[in-house]
C-alpha cells in the first residue's frame, strides 16, 4: 500500500523534478536534500491521512449510513482525535526539529556578505585576510564546502532564497540574519527574493553558480582583480559614454574613475550570467535594451532609462560592459 502511494507521489512530482533551476523538488544542496526527504515523508503521510478521514466520512454517510453504536463513536473521538495524533505529531517533531540546526552552522568554508537593495543584491566575498571582494546579483559557491551567508538589507525587508540549495532567510534592515549552504553538485541555480519588497519584487532574482573548488578559487582570484581595460575601439568609445553619462556616480568599475556605491558593482559585469538582477541575459542587445528601458523593464527602479542615447552609443556601451570580464 505504502509503496504504491510513494510511486503515486513520484508520478505526481516527477514532471516537476526534471525541469526548473528554482525548484525545491530539484535539490542539489545538503540541506535541500534533507528537506526533500522530509517533504516527501510528510506528503505521503498527509495523503494517507486525507484518504482515511475522507474515506471514513464517505463510509458513514454513503456506504453504511445505518446507526452505529455510541461506544464506537466515542472511541473514534478518543482514538482518532487524541491518541493517534499525539503519537504521530510527537514523532514528527522529534524527527524534524533537529533538522533545523545545519543551515545555521558556520561551516568550514568562506563567508559571503549579501545585502539586499531595492531591487538587487550586493554580494561581498570575505577573504581569509578579512578583506572583501565585491560583486553583485550573482553568487558563486564551491562544491562540498559549507559556505556561510551573512544577510542584511538596506531600507526594506527582503528574503534570500535559492530553493535548490536550502531554505530561505529574511533580510531585515538593522538586523543580521544568517544561513549556510552546502552544495553537492556543480551547476547554476536560480534564486529569488521571497519577501514582498515593493513594486519590482517580482524582478529581483539572481543566479547561483556552484563550481568545483579549484574553478572557484580561480574565479575568485579573477574577481578580486581590477577591471580589464577596454580591448576594442568600440568598447573604448563605450567607456567614454559611460564616463560622459555619469554612470560612475552610482556604479563602481574598479581601476577606473567610477566609484559610485549606490548601484551594483560592474567591475566584472561581462563575466556574469545575468543582467538586471536575474531578469535578462548578457548579450550586447540585452545590455542595450536594459540601459535604454530600465524603468519599463523594472518599475520604480532607481536607475533612470537612458532612452536619449543614440543606438550607436548604446551599442558601444554594451560592448564596454560586455568586455568587463
Amino acid at each position: 500500500m505504502l509503496r504504491t502511494l510513494v510511486a503515486l507521489a513520484g508520478v505526481l512530482l516527477l514532471p516537476a523534478c526534471g525541469e526548473g533551476r528554482q525548484s525545491v523538488l530539484n535539490p542539489s544542496g545538503r540541506d535541500a536534500l534533507l528537506l526533500y526527504d522530509l517533504a516527501l515523508v510528510m506528503f505521503v503521510g498527509a495523503l494517507v491521512l486525507w484518504l482515511l478521514v475522507g474515506g471514513l466520512f464517505v463510509y458513514v454517510t454513503r456506504i453504511n449510513p445505518r446507526e452505529m453504536s455510541r461506544g464506537l463513536a466515542e472511541g473514534l473521538i478518543v482514538g482518532g482525535g487524541v491518541l493517534f495524533p499525539v503519537v504521530l505529531l510527537g514523532g514528527l517533531l522529534v524527527y524534524s526539529l533537529p533538522l533545523m540546526q545545519a543551515p545555521r552552522e558556520a561551516g568550514e568554508g568562506m563567508r559571503v556578505h549579501i545585502t539586499a537593495e531595492q531591487w538587487w543584491w550586493r554580494v561581498e566575498y570575505e577573504l581569509p585576510d578579512g578583506s572583501r571582494v565585491t560583486s553583485a546579483n550573482e553568487l558563486r559557491l564551491p562544491v562540498g564546502q559549507r559556505t556561510g551567508l551573512v544577510l542584511n538589507a538596506h531600507r526594506v525587508i527582503h528574503a534570500f532564497w535559492v530553493p535548490a540549495l536550502g531554505g530561505k532567510a529574511d533580510m531585515i534592515p538593522g538586523r543580521e540574519t544568517y544561513l549556510s549552504f552546502l552544495p553537492e553538485s556543480a551547476g547554476t541555480y536560480r534564486g529569488q527574493c521571497a519577501e514582498f519588497c515593493g513594486a519590482s519584487h517580482a524582478l529581483m532574482a539572481f543566479e547561483t553558480v556552484v563550481m568545483e573548488p579549484e574553478d572557484f578559487e580561480a574565479w575568485l582570484a579573477a574577481e578580486a582583480r581590477d577591471a580589464t581595460p577596454p580591448q576594442t575601439q568600440e568598447a573604448t568609445r563605450g567607456a567614454q559614454v559611460f564616463a560622459r553619462e555619469g554612470c560612475g556616480s552610482c556604479h563602481t568599475v574598479r581601476g577606473t574613475q567610477a566609484v559610485g556605491q549606490v548601484g551594483p558593482d560592474l567591475t566584472h559585469m561581462g563575466s556574469r550570467v545575468s543582467l538586471g538582477a536575474g531578469i535578462l541575459g548578457v548579450t550586447p542587445p540585452d545590455f542595450a535594451n536594459w540601459i535604454a528601458h530600465t524603468e519599463t523593464l523594472k518599475p520604480e527602479v532607481a536607475m533612470p532609462s537612458y532612452d536619449h542615447l543614440s543606438p550607436d552609443d548604446l551599442t558601444a556601451l554594451a560592448a564596454y560592459l560586455g568586455g568587463l570580464q
Binding site: G20, V82, M100, I157, A169, R190
Partner: protein, 854 residues
Amino acid sequence: MTRPAPLPVAEGPYPPTEEMLNAPVPPEEQERGKAELRAAWKTPEGWRYFSAVNNTEVGVWYALTAFGFMLLAGLLALAMRVQLAFPGMTFLDADRFNQFFTMHGSAMMFLFAVPMFEAISILLLPAFLGARDMPFPRLSAYGYWCFLIGGCFVLGSLLFDAGPKAGWFMYPPLATEEEGVGPDIWLLGLSFIEVASIAAAVELIVGALKCRPPGMRVNIMPLYAWYVMVVGGMILFAFPPLIAGDFLFELQRSFDWPFFDPERGGDPILWQHLFWIFGHPEVYIVFLPSIAIAAMIVPTVARRPIVGYSWIVLSAVGTGFLSFGLWVHHMFTTGLPQMSLAFFSAASEAVVIPTGIQLFAFIATLMVGRVRMSLPMLWIAGALAIFVAGGLTGVMLAIVPFNWAAHDTYFVVAHLHYTLFGGMVFPVIAGVYYFYPFFAKKLLSERLGRWSFWLIFTGFNVTFLPMHLTGLMGMPRRVFTYPESSGWGTLNLVSTIGAFVVAAGFAVFVYDLLRPKSRQGQIPRNPWDAGTLEFSHDVPEEAWGVRSVPYITSRYPLWDQPKLVERMDAGRYYLPDAPDHQRETVVTSVIDAKPIYVQRVTGPAWITIWAAIFTGGAFIFPTFHIYKPAIVCGAFAIVCVLYWLWTSTARPPRDEMREAGLGLRLPTYTSGPDAVGWWGMWITMLGDATAFASIVFGFFFYWTARPDFLPAGTDHAIGTWVAAAALLGVLAWAATLLAREVNRRGNVMLARLALGLAPLSAAAAAATAWLAVRDLDPVSHVYPAILWALMVWLVVHLCAGIVMQCYCLAGSLFGKVTPRHDADLRNVTLYWHFMALKVLVTAALLGLVPGWLP
C-alpha cells in the same frame, strides 16, 4: 441620613411546574399580548427603515454588506489571476497588481471574514437563545454603520489609484516609507473597523452569557453559543495588539516617531510580532464560528444529538488558548533563535489536536445517526474535504525546516485558501442554505445549490491544488509576473481557469440568493426538523422573535420538550406581552440561567448613524493629515454617544417590578455584576488592557532586541512629575470609588463633591504626565518615542475617564443616578479600577524601570 432600601430582586415560583405550564392562557390574554408585542417591536417603515436596530434587520444588512465586499475582493483576485495566466502578461502593471493583492487580502480578512462572523452571530444568536434581541441593539447598529463607512472608504481608495500596496500585513519599513496615503487608509480605515469588531465581540459575549432563556444552563446551551463566547474572548485579546501596533505605526507615519526605524533604535520586527499576535488567532476567529455552524447542522442531518458535546467545548476553548501560541510560525525565517522557533513549531502541532477532535466529533455524530444528505450537508462535506487538506499542509508548514522552503511561496497561498475556504467559506454557505428559511422565510433552490456547489468545489481545487506544486517549484507569492523559463506557466494557467469556474459558481449562488421567490408560498416552520430554538420562530415572520421566552431543559428543546412550541405560541412562558410598549428581554444568571431581571432594550434611532458618521470623520480626516475637522468630528461622535446613553440606558424605571409570566415578578432595573452594562464594561476593559499591555511589551521588546536601548547618556522622564501623575491618578480613582460607596449609603452630597473633585484630579494627572516627558524629543530615538506613546495613551484614557465622571455627576444632579439606581456610577468605577492600574504601570515605566534596566 438613612440607608436607602436595596433594589428589589426576582420573586415568585421558579422553575415552573408542569401543572403551571399546562394551564391554558385565556384567548383575550393571548390577543392582548400579541398586539402589545407587535406594537413594541414594529420595524420602522419607508425611509425610516434604516433607523432600525433590531438584530434581524442589522444582522441581514451586516451579512449582505460583508458578502458584497467579499465579491468585490473576489473580482480583484480574478484580475490577478488573469495577469498571472501566462508569463510576462501586461494586463495589470506592477503598481496596480500590488494594490490589488494588498486589498484582496485586507478586504477578505477585515471586511468579509470577521464581519461575517459578527453578522451571522448578531442575526442568529438571539434566536438560538430564545432571546428577543441582543443586549445592546444600538451598539450593533453603530458597529454596522462604522463597518459600512470604513469598508467603502478602504475599498474606494482603489478607484483613485491610492490603495495601500505593501501587502495585507503591511510590514514596515516598506509600509512606513511608502509614499501617498495608501498605508494611512489601511491603518485608519481598518482600525475603525477593528473598533467595531471589538464592540460586536463585547455584545456577543454578554449575549451568550446573560441573555439565555431561563433554565438553559451552561451544559445545555447550543454549541454555537460556546463558540461565540470563545471567539468573542479571542477577539478581545487578539485585536488590541493590532490596534496598539496601528497606534505606533500611525505615530511613525504622521509624526516620524521611529518605532520601526532601525537607524534610530526602532525595530521592524516589533510590528511583525504585534501583527501576528493578532493575525494567527484571527485565523481561528474566522474558523471557529464557521465550524460552529457545522455543529448546528450536523445533529439535524444525523437526527441525533451531537456526540461529544463536552469534547467540542474542550476543542473550542482549547483552540482558543493554543491559537495564541502560534504567531511566530509566520516569522520562522526572521532569524530568531532556533529554540524560540521550536516552541512555536511545537505549539502549532499541539493545536492540531483540538481541531482534530472537533472534526472527529462530527463524524462520530454522523456515525450514530441515520444521515440524510441535504444540501447544507453537502457543503459541510465539501468543507471537511477541503479543510482537512488545508490542515494537513498546515502541519507541514509548522515544521520549521519545511517552512523555510515553503514560506512566502504559492504553497502558502494554496494552504491558506484551503483552510479559509474549507474552514470558513464552505461552512458559511452551508449556513446560508440551512438558515435561509429561518431569516428569509423562503427556501433556496436545491438544483441551483447543487450546481453552485459542484462549480465552486471543482473550481476551487482546480485553482488551488496546483499551487502547492507551483510554490515548491519556486514561485514566490506576490509576484506580478514571472519569466517563461521558470516553467510555472502551465500550472498558473490551470489555476486561472479554475478561478473562473469558482466565479461561475458564485454567480449561480448569488442568483439563487437574490432571485424573487414570492411564488414559493408559505414554507414549513421547521423545514429541516431541527432541534434548536431558532426554528420555533413564527412563519410568516413576526418582529418579536419569540412569542414568549421559553423555559428550557434540554440541548434540543424542539425534539425533547414536546409541547414547547405550542406553549410559546400561546404566550404561556415568560414576557408574553409588553404592557409599557417597550422592547424587553430576559436577563439570566451566567451559569444556571436563572431569571434576574427584565432588560429594557433600545429601539429604532438615528443617533447611531450620526455617531458612526462622526466617528468615521475622526478616523478618515487624519488619513489626509487634516486634524482640526477630525477633532471636531471626534467631539461630535462623543456627544452623540453620550446623548444615546443618557436618553436610553439605565434610566430609573417607573415601575420597579414587572409581571414576567408564570407568576414570576422580575425587577426592571439592576446595577453591578447582575446588569449587562457592567459586563459590557468589564469585557471592554479587558480588551483595552490588552492593547495597553501590547505597548508595554513593545518597551521590553526594544530592551531585549536592541543593544542601543536605552541609548547612552539619554534624558529620562522627570521623576517628580511622574510621581505627581501617579499620585493624582490614584487620587482620581479613590474619589470615584468614594463617590460610589457614599452614594450607595445615601450621602448624595458627598458623592457629588467627590465626583466634582475626581475629574479635576484626573486632569491634573494628565497634565503632569505630559510635563514629565515634555522635554524629550520623540523623533530622535525610539526610547523617548515610546515614553511619549505611553503618555499619549494614558492621557487619552484619562480624558475618557473624566468624561465618564462628569456623566455620573450630571446623572446625580439630574436624577439619573440615585442611591438606588447607580448602574452608571458602578460601571464608571469599574473603568477607573483599570485606569488606576494603567496609571501605576505607566508611572513605573516612565519613572522607575529605566533606572532598573541593566
